[in-house]
Amino acid sequence: MSWAREKRLLLGWLALLAPLPLPFNDVIGWGALAVFAAAVLLFLRRAWEDRGPWLSFRAMNVLGLVYLPFLFADLGVLWRGRILQPLAHLVMFALVVKLFGMQRERDKWHAVFAVFFLFLAAAGTSVHLSVSLYLLLWMGLALYLLVRFAALERIARLAPRGTAPPRVPVRGFMVFAMAFVVLVSIPLFAFMPRLRQPYIAVPGVGSGVASGVSGQQEDLSLDFIGRIRGDRSVALRYQLESTPPAGWEARFRAGSYDHFEDNVWSRTERRGDTRIHVQRSVDGFFHLREGSARSWARIWLQPIGGTVLPVPVSAVAMDVPFGTLLTSVAVDEAGVVSLYGQPPGTFTYRVGLAGPTASDAPRREFRGRPPPRRRSSAGDLDATEVTPRIRELAREAAGEGSAVERARRIERHLLEGYGYTLDLLGVPGEHRVEEFLFRHRRGHCELFASAMVLMLRAEGIPARFVTGFLGAEYNPIESYFVVRQSNAHAWVEAEVADGAWEVFDPTPPSGRPLMDASGVGRMLGQVYDFLVFRWDRYVLTFGFADQVGMLFRFRDLWGALAAWLRSDGPSPETEAGPEDSAAAPESDPAPGGDLASPDVAAGWLSLLVLLLLVVGWLWWRRPGFTAAAAYTALRARLPAADRPAETLAPLDVARRLAVWRPEVADASAEVVRLYVRESFADHPLTAEEREDLLAAYREATAKRRKAS
């Protein structure tokens, strides 16, 4: 293969690969990519056949002029002045022209720059996990290209003319180089200074952005949640930092609605913002309501295209990691927490969970003033759609007693008297709740919850229709829970006493989202989700706070190891319980004190790996199988009577070996010859001689054994 052909082929393949993620990121259209790919494939074919003619310099200039009108149209019309897309088109065009006109050495580097720009645009706008494969593939090919270019340049300069170009095998080096680059880039990525909050450039098809999430809508039809129950995309992930309080239930509140009309739930607050602005308190927390925290959960909310932060219904406080610029959040009458702006990417926050007082978990009391207790409003008793039939049914089901007793009877009535189905999704009806209660007697969670709200209001009990997520899928790989869109759910919150709101879920258990799952497919899904989570968590949203946390973890790990080495148990300063973790929220809880904790185990594992590496290195660097060693071993095989004195010459040893075992004479003589050469002629053995030595020694040993 000629050198020019090899260079063209390498550049062609790299150019073909570079812009592949761009259409996924909505930077260019699929059409543009198809045209580019076709042109590059044509170039690759010509390069493969090694035939010209290639474009002249004048032709390239003419083509550049021809493209100018397209560029202006691109800038002004097609993309409304956005710069990246027309620039990408321009570079792709220039790259194709340059590839076809590549004749001088500098043209090659021009093309390399254009390819790199496309790669940068593709990588910089990609957020999906799969871009890591693209990065690896591109880096591998780019490294190979640079290696070959450097080799060809050296060979052209230094190799003698008129001879075949020397072969420079680089396969092994490429494997090493890729492993090296990947391993070194990880700490570099982790410790490069972060001056700004992580920014995710372009949401697109590959970004994992959900199109609609439970609780983010102002108006909610009765079919919305039922429709997204098949959506497996991740809404949020959470991790319990300690044992949750007794009675903990993974029920995340994301939206509440009080007005029901024409089969649509809406919020009366839309007509006048009644949200409470909760500032960060002096102790650093956002107090969502009165109460003390028994444990904490860390939540990673996916970019869901809204401002609502789903929080567990038992949440009493909230906290954001160190470095997050957040001074206040909004809490509405139903306790739904929202931000004042849409978070740019995965948003991390912690919530303190209240629990029954019987829990023996340490209690975290908060300083500062919590927002006032939620009181029912007129909207919570809005009986617009409460028909006489519903009122009559409610009266029958509720019976007599306190509000909570009546509410529970209504809940039980729906739980036991009605069936769950998704078959009625989208079935039109004038009053679908009434049709659910009296005609179909089957339905999905929104119908159950809507029916209960109306029945409670018919009984004069303030109630709201609440949406959010119920249940989660446990991922054992990193002990976190995944809440998907399919966990979307609707339930009821009612004020059963003055300011005391309670959750009621009238949906039958068969209709509630699964709490857990099993199976091989699910396990693979968990692995994939783990990778996606890691990617989101430690790549896309990795920021300054994570770097600080990482340093704390190293410090704690070092402290634990030092304490263990002192053999006086875990050091007190590294012991951290849930209370301390709440006090220092930016660092992960209790990493140091427990020698069996994952962090310490990881530290031990790292040390073990390091030790193995050192031992392996020393083993590799050990003195080789020398002729002296082979000679000594052979001499030791001689019978005691024939064993020579230390001063006996090596050639005598060879002679005695030949007398003792004639069949090993030749092999022994070879070993002795190489021994003399190595030890007395000051001639280090070459690789071939070492191989000869090993073969002779093995032959001598084998024949001696056979003879014995």
Partner: protein, 332 residues
Amino acid sequence: MRRTIPEGIRLTTVGAWFIGVTLVVGVAAANTGNNALYLVESLLLATLVLSGVTSRRNVRGLRVEIEPPVEAYANQPFEIGFRVVNGDRLFARRLLALGLGTGPETLVPFLPAGGEHRGRLELLATRRGPFELPWAHLHSHFPLGLFRKGVRVRLDREMLVFPEIFPAARGAASQLGKAGERSSRRRGWGHELLALRRFQAGDDFRSIHWKQSARLGELIFMEREAELGRRLSIALDNAVGGLADRRQELRFERLVSEAATAAHDHLRRGYEVELVTRNGRVAFGTGPAHRLRILRELALLQPVPRQREPLVPVGDRRPRLRLAMDGGGIGA
């Protein structure tokens, strides 16, 4: 003792561009907070580290041995055999450029782990005399061509470069051809035939002319001319004092080369050659060993202070070649 001594690192044009691009991407990453750009930046930095570490390793752990030629003449290219050994059992070495500090470099394309490479390196010495080869210089652009890393390996070798040999027509020695071939017409043990006669008792059987013996039916003996006629005595007066300028230096060097050319040429033609200088005398002799003796003497010849008495060869040998700064020539 360290076998290799680093000779520093030099950034190539490609490397400068690479670092520039890395800086630009780094600024973009820091300015936007885009972790994807940070990822690209970390890969670029890791590639730089790879290039630095690998190129450094690529020129380390090497052993260089050279085999100077037996004869090397000034201003005439000669080849030196070399052997590069990779003492590293883990990593191969690639794309090494080997030079000896003068002359062109040669490429060692691939050295397997623990392997060796043999080759020849062309050199040119511009002066006669000791030619020092203290170091072998190795450098490499491997792997990515971003850096040029170099080391030098101690050789501590020295070879002797003989004086320049002129083409026969150029020097005064060319005039010696006829003079040296004049017949002495005396019996002796030379190479030229003097006469044929009948074989007598005591004659050397090796000198029987077998063709004539067969033709005449009796043993015919070849009498050879005495060797005196094929002797050359070269007198080079190196008592020239301090050489004032470059011109005089060149002139002295030319005289030395004339002497070397004459000796080289006549020895090749079978003459006995003697060299007389102020340093001493190399007696008449023939053969390759004698040629090397004369050339070695001439290679090391240095000017000495001027002396009154003239330089004369020992004995009365003809013809002579007298070479001196104040005019030399052919003696009769």
